[in-house]
């Protein structure tokens, strides 16, 4: 347990909508190790972003954290259960940014339109690090330089609309790093930027992780990005974890039908595929999740009597799967191996 920085235990988050109750996160458990990257993969509506928000105790109505524990081991003494804290209280506010920082998909909406970059950065730094204004300014310039932005001194006087998407995301990263967090939550940080900019941002995050030794929770739908960034991966489907393992196992020996199907359904730029395999149908309506195994209406391996509410069970070293037929499926080699 020494290496564990954050532990999520049986987390349940519901959204109470007029259309019905959405069980956005339905009993999710995982651990994030110090200095490592955990990738959370899934399609839209699988609950990956809600999980991230729950960690910072930022779920807003109509959403509510029903139960579970999120234990933060960042302090030397006893763990802190983040969801037991008052969401507006001083302790969680110190942890947000100070201990756990977050960057979002669209940096445009995370930056204020009416304050300069310098204003926003120094305000946060003054508050969290108790620095006087001029020192905070110097520190801001240092941070902007570190994330590779040209002419950081001038940049401080700019507004968000004057920056490109890649520059905004760098500013967000610089701000997130200002308090040297132990955990960085990155929620699709490169989905809105171009591929060459994405490569720059990913490289930057990897370098900074080495330098500061921070852990990263990387949330994305992009299986390419996860393969490059993550040490461990959790695959989510309709609010549940369906598979969790180290990155190599996920790509070379996946045991859940959904993981396998996802990997076979993506076009590749590195190898030639004649035809993609598809997952039939659509992601079901989240207010009306299928009974039993949530994936069963789209699953090739479905056997009516057998696939009744599969538990999340360990089938190998650190390899967890939510499928009653995981053992037989895991025996078959993955598509990646067949192709390469």
């Amino acid at each position: 347990m020494q290496n564990v920085l954050l532990e999520v235990k049986d987390l349940h988050v519901n959204f109470f909508l007029t259309e019905g109750t959405v069980r956005a996160v339905n009993g999710v458990s995982f651990e994030i190790e110090r200095g490592k990257t955990l990738g959370v993969v899934g399609e839209s509506g699988c609950g990956k972003s809600v999980t991230a928000r729950a960690i910072l105790n930022m779920v807003r109505p109509p959403g509510r954290i029903l139960s579970g524990e999120i234990n933060y081991y960042g302090y030397s003494d006893a763990p802190v259960n983040l969801i037991a804290l008052d969401p507006e209280g001083s302790e969680i506010r110190r942890i947000r940014w100070g201990e756990i920082a977050m960057i979002f998909q669209e940096p445009m909406t995370s930056l204020s339109p009416v304050h300069t970059i310098g204003n926003q950065m120094t305000e946060a730094i003054c508050l969290h690090l108790n620095m006087p204004k001029d020192e905070a300014l110097r520190y801001s310039i240092e941070l902007l330089e570190r994330v590779g932005l040209p002419q950081p001194g001038r940049l401080l006087n700019h507004y968000r609309h004057e920056l490109s998407g890649g520059m905004r995301q760098r500013v967000m990263i610089a701000m997130a790093l200002s308090c040297k967090p132990k955990l960085l939550i990155a929620d699709e940080p490169t989905t809105a930027v171009d591929v060459t900019t994405q490569a720059q941002v990913l490289n930057l995050m990897r370098d900074l992780q080495q330098e500061f030794g921070m852990a990263i929770l990387y949330i994305t739908h992009d299986l390419g990005v996860v393969a490059e960034m993550a040490d461990k991966v959790v695959v989510m489907y309709l609010g549940e974890e369906v598979e969790g393992a180290d990155v190599d196992t996920i790509y070379y020996n996946p045991a859940h039908p959904y993981t396998r199907a996802l990997l076979r359904s993506i076009p590749r730029h590195d190898i030639r595929l004649d035809r993609l395999e598809t997952i039939e149908g659509n992601v079901p309506d989240p207010t009306n999740i299928p009974k039993g195994c949530a994936f069963h209406p789209r699953c090739h391996y479905y056997v009516p009597a057998q696939c009744v509410h599969p538990p999340y069970q360990q089938i190998g070293d650190g390899h967890w799967v939510r499928c009653t037929r995981a053992h037989e499926i895991g025996q078959q080699s993955s598509q990646t191996e067949q192709v390469l």
Binding site: S164, D194, V195, H221, A227, P267, R268
Partner: protein
């Protein structure tokens, strides 16, 4: 009516410049131009899929729109071998003439949410082109719409429903059915899968592939995603700041890159394989402003192989090996690849 070599579309030196006006109440004077498309040339053969790939702002969407004449080109020629009219230059046609040509060139949009009229039923949406061109009416129209829906994997019973009742993937199928309604010769697909979830993306790509084979369709496939382009295209053109920098057969291009920008682009694309050992070529700086492009080769400020000549002399797109064109002075001298 076909040319000897089966060319369906020939684009030569196509240009689209958007004026930037000076601030003024009475006199609007163009002070500069955004060179969104700046001298693009390529051909597409009948039944071929040409992938047009590039980052945002490179002019790929504008190229598609100018070909379709949703925008009027600033210069250049777009020769299209129309099924009914023979060879026509799309760049010079007026609106009445274009109406006939649009029967044979259709467009599939990126965003399946904003491209369907929420106040029309599926039958009206898919049947609209047939109705507009006065081709089918009444029962025959109804039957044709049912057939089209079946073709794209939707149940004809849904015909009286409105778009809001459908998911993103289903909406994209509706858009495809509409594009197919008039039996077009060519379809311009503008990022047709980039708004879709991973599992839905594969369904749509397969559908596009099947329809292409079934009807010998010709696609101009515009995308920012190299994986998608590699998967679907016979040939690929890479665009950067309004120009094509490299064009070749898909396998040839991915296996023997001839332009430093294509190399950087490919090396930036994440590979869904944790064991992959790939070269990373980080690009410095940002994509230049197409209103004020750099001198010489537009890529030179970011190119790691830059030499003095690149700063002054614009490299032409030239054939380096048969069928493989690249716009780089040093294509042959560099050993590129990821």
């Amino acid at each position: 009516m076909m040319t000897e070599d089966g060319t369906l579309l020939q684009v030569s030196d196509l240009k689209k410049h958007f004026p930037i006006y000076s601030q003024g109440v009475f006199r609007r004077q163009a002070v500069n131009y955004v060179r969104a498309v700046d001298g693009v040339s390529f051909t597409i053969k009948r039944g071929e899929v040409l992938g047009l790939v590039g980052e945002s702002g490179c002019g790929k969407t504008t190229t598609g729109r100018v070909i379709l004449r949703a925008l009027k080109p600033t210069g250049g020629e777009v020769l299209f071998q129309d099924r009914d009219k023979g060879e026509v230059d799309l760049a010079r046609l007026d609106r009445a003439e274009l109406r006939d040509i649009w029967r044979n060139i259709q467009l599939i949009f990126q965003d399946p949410y904003s491209s369907l009229n929420p106040r029309m039923t599926l039958e009206q949406i898919v049947g609209e082109p047939l109705h507009n061109y006065d081709i089918l009416h009444g029962g025959a129209l109804h039957d044709r719409v049912a057939e089209l829906l079946r073709l794209v994997g939707l149940r004809p019973e849904y015909m009286s429903r409105y778009p809001h009742a459908f998911s993103g993937g289903q909406r994209q199928r509706i858009g495809i059915a509409r594009a197919l309604a008039l039996n077009p010769q060519m379809i311009i697909c503008d990022e047709p899968v980039s708004a879709l979830d991973v599992s839905i993306q594969a369904q749509i790509l397969n559908l596009l592939q099947d329809l292409q084979a079934q009807f010998q369709l010709t696609y101009l496939f515009i995308s920012h995603d190299l994986s998608v382009v590699r998967h679907l295209s016979d040939r690929v053109a890479v665009m950067y700041v309004g120009k094509i920098v490299e064009i070749a057969d898909t396998e040839e291009l991915f296996n023997s890159i001839r332009h430093p920008y294509s190399e950087a682009l490919l090396s930036s694309a994440p590979t869904p394989d944790p064991r992959a050992k790939r070269k990373h070529i980080p690009l410095k700086g940002e994509v230049p402003d197409p209103a004020n492009p750099p001198s010489g080769c537009y890529f030179h400020p970011r190119c790691q192989y830059v030499k003095d000549r690149c700063k002054v002399e614009t490299p032409p797109l030239r054939e380096t090996t048969p069928g493989h064109w690249a716009a780089c002075h040093f294509s042959e001298a560099l050993s590129l690849g990821v």
